[in-house]
Symmetry: C2
Subunit: 495 residues, 2 copies
């Protein structure tokens, strides 16, 4: 969930100075239009890791826009008046009216996270708080509000560096956080429970935007751009509720550093090393699948990737290690008639493996947020809600002991071109290449955006994505096998 | 929540025989139309108290409709196959396809309720299960499914009689329930947690229908009618998702015995008794408000009722008992400009009393499901979602120690007519009667339906409705005061 926000995104001063003025002007204009229309309020929630630029961003938004139309609320200590009423009262009294922007700093999420990190309660109570938050947000959106939720993130290393520099800065050293961020464990717990909160509260009507906070320029432009896109979409829609203001990619590739761009695509294996490592990993997998601890688990492997990235070959190398009675490969193409008569996830639920078994999905439920999104086969409302439906599905698998591994096999455009050409030459591979495959290449960037969103919104501790550098097929196959083995060993170790 | 289902609803055989054939025919026709359109599946959940006719109703539906297009699923013991997969797998595999009806008997709700009643887990875990159910239902509805949730109810007395007769019947005596219903406490716990589940899972897209199960004819016609109304609405709508199939009143007054009809409107107090009881109750209230245990509580009293039912007079008698610094009367008329710029509940949240204090709402948040519903001031989607928003709001009040009492002051049509006429005669009361009041009388039955729905969907253990027979003002005033006093004493006793 935080993968994209640990890439070291950065923008140079020159680019920032060139882009910021236009963004400011557009934001200001949107803000006046918001006031003019007076149809809905905007609520901005600010959360995330200490030192990731939350306060600075709020300050900046007030500079960029008209501060008379923004009200910033902090919710640190409860006042006497607040303490003597239900907890939500303090939020209700600070709601911005229609036409205005309210920035909620230290909101309902901060409080539930602090409580959980401090160990004041367990997950069941955290989940109750999460429900309360979702009910409130759902109601606000039903009443017309436009909600942006920003999570400012830093990697642990970045945070430590940042805390050190803040401590030395007299302007900041007085700040006291309710959590002791100097403790390494605080970060780990905060991020772990943060992920749980984000996973469960990212909904189509109010998704989370995770922003890497290390670079001031990047962070500022990102937040400004997301706000502007959402505001403009909502202002343009004539419906009583802002309709689908959150369809833009989560991480507009501002600095051209998407997750996929961060891969080292030159990685490769020599034939000999490959043979040796392949055999080792295959034997390891065979052993793990026969391990008696496997009786308490099942295994699901999802294969997605660019066309011609080598999914089939990788799957064959996995299968080769196994007893055919223990695994099943489910190729996902167009749904059957029976499947079309059922909810989207039904065709995947029916193939969930029993304990002790392994199902390989050659393409998967992620089709909805990839091909169906990009090709417009479903409405934005459908693929937007799919993220939480999918997270919910995978959580159910995980809770039942199913180990879920998900692969995106990535190749670059040139490699794909070569492979397409080769396929056209080889008789028995010609069936693998169609006109459609060539057409899909025109949408390369759209697919990159969709993959970035997908990973950001569905890579979780319980079911992480593994991006596989697949320009070299041998490297890819070994990485796939090794990842599966590591996931199984990790699950066994926890038993 | 179960008030309407403990009235002793019944329909005579003759009426049943007259009405059933047309209902069967219409249901069958709707069923074929459903198949013909093949646009959405129908899922019927069957839950409720033991012996309330669940099995009989499922049997009847299969007789009335074409059983080839209905699949009935029971979920008692898990099979081996099911046990080795995530818990939801067994529900997914039984989902009816588009165009078909699936009856789920012993579904996700039965399981969470059994677990809670048996004490296998506490409320926080129950709430997690509730979430899971809501996510599933939300997703199914987003995918187009039409869901009916029936809760078959019996009062404790009715259930005991029913169990006795079942035990003596060789056709039924073999049935074994996972709960021991012979134990009086089982019923209490089941109904208490049942209410929690119903309150939290009754949503506009899939509300609960509570059906009194004692009388076979009544129960059958009710279920048939609700299904038919919902099916027809969904079949008529051309949208991809069935739009608002649940707008019909929850308790169509089949036997002309709504909640309001069950009141004994002849109750009255002699002047002398009134004076004595009024003074007693006022003194009791004054004492309770000064009690030091009041520091941990606040009090909210909601007054709704027919026009000219005497809300103002009753409120004055309450206020007369109190120190003006301790209470506040909030009259709810048309919202101010500031209030219109905020979500619906905002104007009520702002008047939530601090601990130790008392707020009287002269009309309230229930306006949305009464006047706004009947007069069409808001969309069905808005008043339908209001029920759960209101229950959620009142739960938050209750959890913060606020005691919530809600009054519906009921008078009959004749009494209202007389009072209107009197008001027109008396100079200082003439301002109280307008053309609109006269017009509202034309919608008497619509208001009755709305009040019935409101009480059924929002009368909860934490914030119950009190129906006040107000043809006699003296009787009404004393009943109001006494109810407030009892609610406070009950809350104090629990501390």
């Amino acid at each position: 969930m935080f993968e994209s926000a640990e890439l070291g995104h950065a923008i140079d001063e020159e680019t920032f100075d060139r882009e910021a003025p236009a963004l400011r002007e557009a934001l200001l204009e949107a803000q006046y239009e918001l006031k003019q229309q007076g149809r809905f309020p905007v609520i901005i929630l600010i959360n995330g890791v200490e030192g990731a630029g939350k306060g600075e961003t709020v300050k900046l938004l007030n500079e960029w826009m008209d501060p008379r139309l923004i009200q910033v609320s902090t919710f640190d200590q409860q006042t006497d008046e607040e303490r003597s009423r239900p907890p939500a009262w303090r939020f209700w009294r600070q709601l911005p009216p229609k036409g205005r922007i309210g920035i909620f700093f230290g909101n309902w999420y901060s409080q539930m996270l602090q409580g959980r990190v401090h160990g004041h309660f367990k997950n069941a109570v955290l989940d109750q708080a999460i429900d309360g938050a979702l009910n409130l947000e759902q109601m606000l959106c039903d009443e017309g509000a436009l909600i942006f939720k920003f999570w400012f993130h830093l990697s642990k290393k970045q945070m430590k560096a940042r805390l050190k520099s803040l401590r030395d800065d007299p302007l900041h050293s007085w700040r006291i956080s309710p959590l002791d961020w100097q403790q390494s464990e605080t970060y780990d717990r905060f991020v772990r429970y943060g992920e749980r909160v984000l996973r469960r509260t990212s909904r189509d009507f109010a998704p989370w935007y995770v922003v890497e906070g290390a670079d001031e320029y990047y962070r500022s432009l990102m937040v400004g751009r997301i706000l502007l896109d959402g505001l403009q979409a909502a202002l343009k829609s004539k419906a009583r509720r802002p309709v689908q203001p959150h369809v833009a990619p989560l991480t507009a590739s501002l600095d051209n550093r998407g997750l996929l761009d961060s891969l080292d695509m030159t990685q490769a294996l020599e034939k000999e090393d490959y043979q040796e490592q392949l055999t080792t990993e295959q034997a390891r997998l065979a052993g793990l699948m026969r391990d008696k601890r496997m009786r308490r688990h099942a295994l699901v492997a999802v294969f997605e990737g660019n066309d011609a990235a080598g999914k089939g070959g990788a799957i064959r190398r996995v299968a080769a290690a196994l007893d055919p009675r223990q695994y099943r490969i489910v190729p996902i193409a167009a749904p059957t008639e029976e499947e079309r008569a059922q909810p989207y996830l039904w065709r995947f639920w029916r193939h969930v493996p029993a304990r002790g078994n392994f199902t390989v999905f050659d393409r998967s439920w992620y089709g909805r947020v990839l091909v169906e999104r990009v090709e417009g086969f479903c409405e934005p409302a459908d693929w937007l809600r799919a993220y939480s439906e999918i997270n919910d599905f995978e959580e159910q698998l995980s809770e039942a002991g199913v180990v879920v591994v998900k692969f995106w096999l990535a190749i670059d455009e040139d490699t794909q071109y070569q492979r397409f050409k080769e396929r056209e030459q080889i008789a028995f591979k010609r069936f693998k290449i169609t006109e459609e495959d060539w057409r899909n290449r025109d949408k390369w960037q759209d697919y990159c955006d969709a993959v970035g969103d997908m990973v950001d919104r569905t890579s979780t501790a319980i079911a992480p994505w593994t991006l596989v550098e697949a320009n070299d097929k041998r490297f890819a196959r070994v990485k796939v096998l090794r990842t599966i083995n590591e996931a199984l060993e990790k699950a066994f170790a926890k038993d």
